[in-house]
Amino acid sequence: MKRLILLLPLAIFLGIAVFLYRGLFLDPAELPSALIGKPLPAFSLPSVDEPGRTFTVADLKGPALVNVWATWCVACKVEHPVLNDLAGRGVTLYGVNYKDDTAAAQKWLKEFHNPYRLNVSDTQGTLGLDLGVYGAPETFLIDKHGVIRHKYVGVIDERVWREQIAALYQGLVDE
């Protein structure tokens, strides 16, 4: 018993050490979305491709990926071919053109191919704010009721798709 008590400080020390050591490998840049499990915020914004047309949240029908992008975003350029590929495989993609110049966005879509079923023009970043977006690209996975199920911050590449999103997406399609 006495022995055990003597070992107690070591045990406490090891416990704290393991706890802090794990902390070293956590990514502090990763912040969970506060919107998981909540419906997409309401909006009424113009279309990027068809001037004069206005979209609302009812136009984004899930299950789908809602991709926040911009022409000023270098990483979006890296992501774009992957999105084209996903669209080719039948994945539903909606675009939110975040704080961008609409003419530049149209040019981009013409040049690099348009993977989006429709593109919402959020020039003021109001929808982005409601979505808790703090950079681009960010991608939300929504279910058929328009509820946000998952959020991915950063470039979706083949691996991210395969390991983190594909199964979730398929699950929502089968739901």
Binding site: P9, I12, P28, A29, L31, P32, S33, A34, L35, K99, G125, L129, D130, L131, G132, V133, Y134, G135
Partner: protein, 162 residues
């Protein structure tokens, strides 16, 4: 004297200009300006992890400053503004995390460790005191006392041990 005055006045004019360039928001009262200042200081920029919204040059921080200013103009309370941002960006945006089950360890952990340490220290001190207060002979059991007597007896006769 007059020249000095002119220079001084010009200087004041310059300082005013520089200030306006940084702070482009107008407030209806000093209290509101104060609230804006406090809010942007206690909210964290989601993009640039270790800066508050007031400090950061990131576009998102500028957007949030504008949004906070707008909400202040609308007459919303500090709590409403913080709740609005937390609803979008999570507790991450607060430099002062709320007390709940997930953050209890964060809030109480250090105090708990300190209390534990003080408790152990207290026990050690009390025990040592008790040991010191009893006379040393009383701490020996019968066998030890016999051995001590034998050793002392040897010493008195001045013979080599044993």
């Amino acid at each position: 004297m007059r020249r000095l005055l002119i220079v001084l006045l010009l200087g004041i004019g310059l300082a005013g200009g520089a200030r306006a360039a940084i702070d482009t928001y107008t407030f209806s009262s000093d209290a509101e300006r104060e609230r804006f200042h406090d809010l942007t200081k206690e909210l964290r920029c989601p993009k640039c992890q270790n800066q508050d919204i007031a400090d950061s040059n990131a576009p998102i921080a500028a957007d949030l400053r504008r949004e906070i200013h707008r909400m202040l103009q609308d007459g919303q309370s500090d709590q409403q503004i913080v709740d609005y941002l937390v609803a979008r960006y999570g507790d991450f945006v607060r430099y002062k995390p709320p007390l709940n089950a997930r953050t209890a360890l964060l809030w109480y952990g250090p105090a708990g460790l300190l209390l534990g340490g003080l408790l152990v220290l207290g026990v050690i001190v009390v025990r040592r005191r008790r040991v010191e207060r009893t006379p040393s002979a009383a701490r020996l059991d019968d066998d030890e006392r016999a051995r001590l007597a034998a050793l002392l007896a040897h010493e008195e006769r001045d013979t080599p041990y044993p």
